[in-house]
Amino acid sequence: MNLTSTEDQRHIQAAAAELLAARRMTAGARAVREEPEGHSPELWKEMTALGWPALVLPEEHGGLGAGFTDLCLLCEELGRHQIPSPLLATVACAALPLARHGSAQLCAQWLGAVAEGRTLTYVRAAPHGHWGTAGSTLTATPSGRGGFRLDGTALFVPYAGTADAMLVMAQVGDRTELTALLVEAGTPGLHRHRLDVVGNTPEYRVAFTDAPVPASRVVGTVGGGGAVAATAAALGTAATCAEMVGGAQGVLDMTVAYATTREQFGRPIGSFQAVQQHCADMAVDVLGARVSTYEAAWRLTRDLPAELAVSGAKAWVSERYERVCALAHQVHGAIGFTAEHDLPFFTRHATAAALSFGDADHHTGRVAEALGL
């Protein structure tokens, strides 16, 4: 499969859209809400068979070698259909950082496993939930032979309940520099507790109590985890933006369809000027979200400087997706506030995803700093 041409990309995305539309009833946010895994393991098997987790991994480790943008296209479709999936956490936040920073041995061990359907997640516990590259509330205490004992609690670890391993950012003793560790699910002293959160992604509190981590599980160097965290944050942020672009497009489509068919005062509500103004604002928001996200994804794919692009995209997309949902609620009226409607799943997604990897204010602040203000 040659994934470099855009025709192939369109093909991938169209195929993804078709599959996800067909699986929405069984694997969508509503369907898996009460499931212990928080997603559909059956669908994950199908995705694996189709090569989704392998898509952007390096070919030498069983991947298909496609560019990061292609992963974003899949995330966009997941967002559009509101299908919770460990794909983003596994690939963008753990496997790709591992591929870039990890030892040959770790890559050999885990990247092929991911391509075959094992899942990973990312544990980033910084004070105040700040998505920076320094400081962690997790402490790794050296314990001989280069290994560590890990202690501390992290919140908001997605899919931790089913992940086979976790990329964990810890600080060694009092040093604020990060060290990245790959911690396997079976590690003693590891506790996972599902949180009740706003969004559709299953999030966990993960606690480590004197949990042993061998030296071979250090990703990169001791004290050099900041670079790993930066990679995970950049890729995770961009992929989250793509997921939100899909969600926002889904909300816009749903709202236009409703406004076209719902009648009040003897005509479709979409013919009222106030509804038209709302929908036009949504169109501005969605188009801007898409262009900024894909510019950022392209820069990351090409390994160009991307901080301004990524933060700019996350700031725009977070604010605008939330606005898109708010306007959609205005157009839908009371029906959109009910549990039986799909709009609330998008609203939940927008609310939670806007907070992931730093909210709009956080990223706007990063842009301000980058501008030297």
Partner: protein, 437 residues
């Protein structure tokens, strides 16, 4: 030009009220009286439900749903809710504006404002809000003596709970296109009694707390051939009548704040019609005009903003607080300023009503501002806690996840009781005199 004169007269009134914001000695004394009453009489065991979603009624405080509480499965809560209603009823403070003869307290709008403000500040539940605030004034103005005598005392004592059946699946913003029918049957055709009845068929939706109601006030179509506003009547219907099915509706938060009602050949005595036949639209519009949103929401918002500021200064709050607070503190100050404006508007409205002024558009403005402020406040509060704002669980969450929940409560604020788009059109046409579209 008539509109112009009207605006000028209204403005003159604004200015008069704007001149003195100080309470009179009597008003201060009344405020003390309310405080003492709440302190002495509110049942200590009537505590907020820590897991509750907020009621969507603007006059309700968090943690209570009085119409449900009075029928709670928990006997203690049930008793507490009833005891609180009984205590309020002693003073006539369930329906404080109603005449004393009907069980009210005959309070002026300014006194009622003070009463509600103090109850909100004390965070004790409003009793029988819909019956007392919407139906009560409607019956006083449009009901007949029999209807007033039959229904007002039950409302004022907190014994009869009412729900409002206006919206239908195909009649939301365009309320007047409602299709629930009421067909008059001659006395002899009715098998129930000797009185003439309407036979009601149709469906209502989004009826707040209908599942907890004893009685319903409902708009029905009595003349299908008339222009849509002119074939509607306003009926009082016993919720236990045969043929009524009430099904609670689950909302996006997982609560059941409203219900849909099916009417299947429900017989309603003609004597239960308020106002003339086919003139019910105008009765309903008057009912909706009785201001409810004013002070309750303002005080609630004020208190939650205070709690936010306190929390951000506390040790727990410091842990949860986002790292970059420059924009946050600016937003909190903006919310404070907006709340101050909203409070002043509510006082203006109350004091104008007390002075007997012709209602202007300030109540609508207040409601619109309040609805949008609710959403801004929820966003600001959630923003304070960065990623922790996604905790839906109360346990271990900053401020017991108050803002995470409020963000979803607030979605309804600009929809229920008329979308803000409709509210703006009402302000433009009825308030400013712009031509209808």
């Amino acid at each position: 030009m008539n509109r112009e004169e009207n605006v000028n007269r209204e403005e003159a009134m604004d200015r008069e009220e704007a001149m003195d914001w100080e309470e009179t000695a009597q008003e201060r004394e009344f405020r003390q009286e309310v405080r003492a009453f709440v302190r002495d009489r509110f049942p200590a065991c009537y505590r907020p439900d820590p897991e509750a979603e907020h009621s969507l009624e603007p006059e309700d405080v968090w943690g209570y749903d009085w119409p449900a509480d009075r029928r709670s499965a928990d006997p203690e809560r049930r008793a507490a809710a009833r005891a609180w209603a009984a205590a309020l009823a002693e003073r006539g403070w369930i329906a404080p504006h109603l005449p004393v003869a009907y069980g009210g307290a005959g309070l002026s709008p300014m006194r009622e404002f003070i009463l509600r403000e103090e109850m909100m500040r004390a965070e004790v539940p409003t009793v029988n809000g819909i019956g007392a605030m919407l139906l009560g004034p409607t019956l006083v103005e449009y009901g007949n003596d029999e209807q007033r005598a039959a229904h007002l005392p039950g409302i004022a004592r907190g014994e009869t709970v009412w729900a409002q059946g206006f919206s239908e699946p195909d009649a939301g913003s365009d309320l007047a296109s409602l299709r629930t029918t009421a067909v008059r049957e001659p006395a002899e055709a009715s098998d129930a009694a000797d009185a003439e009845v309407y036979r009601v068929n149709g469906q209502k939706v989004w009826t707040s707390s209908a599942q907890h109601a004893d009685w319903l006030f409902v708009l029905v179509r009595t003349d299908p051939r008339a222009p849509k506003h002119k074939g509607i009547s306003f009926l009082l219907i016993d919720a236990t009548s045969p043929g009524i099915t009430i099904r609670p509706l689950r909302d996006m938060r997982g609560a059941d704040p409203f219900a849909e009602i099916h009417f299947d050949d429900v017989r309603v005595p003609v004597a239960n019609r308020v106002g003339e036949e086919n003139r019910g639209w105008y009765v309903a519009m008057a009912a909706l005009g009785f201001e409810r949103a004013g002070i309750g929401a303002t005080i609630k918002f004020e208190r939650v903003l205070e709690r936010l500021i306190t929390s951000l200064r506390s040790a727990q709050g410091q842990d949860f607080r986002r790292a970059d607070t420059a924009v946050l503190r600016h937003e909190i100050a903006q919310r404070h300023i907006e709340l101050r404006v909203q409070y002043a508007m509510a006082r203006l409205t109350a004091s104008r009503q007390t002075a007997g002024a012709v209602p202007g558009y300030e109540a609508s403005v207040s409601q619109l501002l309040g609805a949008e402020l609710h959403q801004r406040l929820a966003r600001t509060g959630a923003k304070a806690f960065g990623p922790y704002a996604q905790l839906w669980q109360r346990d271990g969450a900053p401020m017991d996840a108050a803002f995470a929940h409020m963000r979803f409560d607030a979605v309804a604020a600009t929809l229920l009781g008329g979308t803000t788009e409709i509210q703006r059109s009402v302000i433009a046409t009825r308030g400013l005199g712009l031509p209808r579209s």
